[in-house]
Subunit: 238 residues, 5 copies
């Protein structure tokens, strides 16, 4: 069986005063973070996302995965070495791990997959009501199958659910890769009518994360090189 | 069919220490934000509002809309280039999209309309109870029709509901254009007695936003040029 | 019929570092706020209160009223011109309006009354449960009459209820003028046993506000001239 | 009948940067607060407590009482004159008043008593469920008698309940003098099984306060003179 | 019978600006905290943990235990002497005490045990629903026995439950030593289906704490010596 992985979602918010630093200093600080991310990505899974324009309480998300907790701890120690962390704080943090799903009808991958990335990743922590866990297994299977059926009608969306029981506050971290956020909106609204939805205790905050390279996500913090980046983005999207 | 739009509500709060900067520096910073807004407004929908005197936790709201998420992301990147963002934070942020309403008896516009603006825009995020979504469609239609009937008795109020399922924390962002906030107060109190009201889970915070040009909304932050602005306002209101 | 009024409650909290400024600078900043308040009070209703010693999260409350929203907006723009607002933030803010009560047996004034002030004003935002609004009108009348009956037994207390539906988060802002806070405490405890009390969803935070002139309320922020003020207070109370 | 008293609990938290000031400046600032407390204590009830090591969100508690609100207001104005208040904020604040208990079988004192102090004071704000207040008086009496009976089995604990209805957010402030916190822990756990416990709506935060002189409570903020203080403490405890 | 102990969990978060200090100054500040911890550990139980990479809202946890409250108070006074506390705040704080469990089938130790440490300690505050405490003793015993049975199937996990009734906000502090967080995740998910789980009112926040020496936990704050530390860690884990 494939090895389970720890998956960590780290949401950074830069302090407004960071934007008052000289541009060269900001560029230097960004380069340090790029180097830290590239170093980790050589041996492990790492993705970066911008939240500029989609949220107001965080700016940048780094998603890391590894088969043990140590590399994730070490990566965050290295982040603490970066001068940017003298001006940024972790606004949200979700620790989780992969686990075979009891509801899937085929084996799910336990390690993050290459080539599965969408233009957007929607992420949220989730808690189910305690009543859910006391239902008989067949009952839960029946309810989840209906939920999965609805999801399959929306073909552009790929689910990555990880588990946080006993590791962090939430029970699950749910993450969806998609290219069209409107399709995802329609899926979530459709799911409201399913039976499984009535067993949800909480599923906020919801983060619409824009997939981009770590340097572009960092450039979005102060708009430096943003014009160039925007042109590049436009080219890619064509 | 008309194209759906993303609609973003960005509420800014300036730090008290911003008011300690020299007046010329504040004027320069405001001019940058005016330029950023005017640039976006050339190609897309943009409206600005002041919350000075109506709320204590935010000062200024920028409402943007575009058929894709990219221009909204790029606009907020450009905002991050403005020196004012070294002293301001996003106090509230609501991302949403337009969608045809299943309850309206005529097609609703999916893009923001020119010429519809009121003197005030009341905005709030909304969540319905999960029970609502499990009611049969006809039942929901019956309940919403009663709700809409009550609304029609208050002729000075124009509704702009957008959808946030899976994009952001709330399910809906409800926004009302009106010229008389007292008429709106009376409408909301009257709606409390309708059946639809009992399916509301949350509809706060509620923002009474004063429609004004971006420069006037910025001037309200430090009262510079406020005397002139107040005279101009008085002239317009006559 | 008398004209309805907007009523605004603005609670200010000064940052601790304000107290580190030179005394002359603090005195100058206080004089600016006094001037702003006096200017508004020439044409409109304005009252000031100190919360020093009764709350820990705000220091000063300014209560303003006007028949339209514009003067209240403009007053807060002028406040933003004051240097003190470079060191103070609005800790709580409640926007509301007067409205004829359906439960009163005689017409209630729709504008703030002169000569009604007590030594203390107790203020709190209130929400009722949704069930309340779905009761038949006669039922609500019966329950409110019992509530009003209990209130009348406490003769030293004057009620000023305003409405916030659709203007701000809360449904009502309730404000009581009284000279003896212990009588008010006894009233509130007595009301807990009434039927109306079981329809209350929330009625906190509760602010015990000490009525005083704007200059005395400002002097309480740093204790400058406090000895003199305390003597003056003692003289008045005799 | 004895005169009722207002009782105020003021919890201070010093900003971390206060600890960066020169030691002489800190000593001078502490002396000012000692003087303010001693001055008030000449005419009124005042006790001080340290929360260093028992809480993380506040450092020092000052408990004052007086037959009217004015001296308590004035004391906090004088506190605002102290330079320490340029670096400290009021983290929690509870205003309350004494009142004869309807459940006690002998008259309770309405003024704070000398000589009743324990080594520790456990304080918390309390709210009961609204259902409680609608029970018949005999029913409430029966339930409270059981509660009081359990309390009497724990002889080292002295209760000081005050009332906050309409004065502050909470309904009651409950305060227990005791010498052994473990006995108090056992009492609270035992009370969980009583009927009265099921009518509690909220009783947090809970503050375990260490009774000490104002100068020792201030010394605990930066550990200056702490070694001497610790020796003194050890001597007293023998 | 063994003596009961007070157990204190202190979670520190360093301010981002601490990382802007010169490296030598940071090293000096860390040395002070190491000395304070070593001094306390000579006479009492003390363990340190890093939360870098597992949480975003705190960085370092210090767990202390002593038979009375005084040494714990004094230790935190000494911490306040450390220059680091001019840049760090206590993000979370849990005070508790040991107590014989009524459900265990053999006596539980009342003092922290040497040699029991796992690589990780998972800690969380817990509240049970009030209904739990009103169940008959045999009923509670039956439910807890089932809970304990499930726990025993996961052999790598050691439980340390302490009691906070009347000492602090929570009722219990639950702490689990383990070497494999994935085994703990599986245990917690399995426990969701037990009857005892339905009596839980709250059990968040959940802290996954990485056991390490105080100097390594401090080094993780700014990544200084982190490379060396990481190598050392890797060596130990082999």
């Amino acid at each position: 069986m494939a090895q389970r992985h720890f998956v960590k979602y780290t949401f950074l918010a830069v302090a407004p005063e960071w934007r008052r630093l000289p541009a060269a200093e900001r560029a230097r600080q960004k380069a340090e973070v790029v180097a830290a991310c590239e170093d980790f990505a050589e041996r492990h899974f790492l993705r970066t996302y911008s939240l500029v324009g989609t949220r107001g309480d965080c700016d940048l998300m780094i998603r890391t995965a590894a088969p043990t907790l140590e590399p994730i701890h070490e990566f965050h120690v290295v982040l603490n070495q970066c001068a940017l962390l003298g001006y940024a704080r972790i606004a949200y943090s979700y620790l989780s791990a992969t686990k075979p799903s009891p509801y899937a009808d085929r084996p799910q991958p336990l390690a993050p997959r290459e080539g599965q990335d969408g233009r957007y990743l929607v992420v949220y922590p989730m808690w189910k009501k305690r009543e859910w866990y006391r239902l008989p297994a067949e009952e839960r299977m029946r309810i989840m199958r209906e939920h999965i059926e609805v999801g399959r009608r929306f073909t552009g969306i790929d689910t990555n659910t990880t588990y946080s029981f006993g590791l962090d506050d939430q029970e699950f971290v749910v993450a969806f890769d998609c290219d069209d956020p409107l399709e995802f909106l329609d899926l979530v609204e459709t799911l409201r009518a399913t039976e499984s939805s009535s067993y949800t205790r909480s599923e906020t905050p919801i983060f619409t994360c824009i997939r981009c390279s770590v340097s572009r996500a960092l450039d979005a913090l102060d708009g430096e090189r943003a014009v160039a980046a925007v042109e590049e983005l436009a080219r890619e999207r064509r």
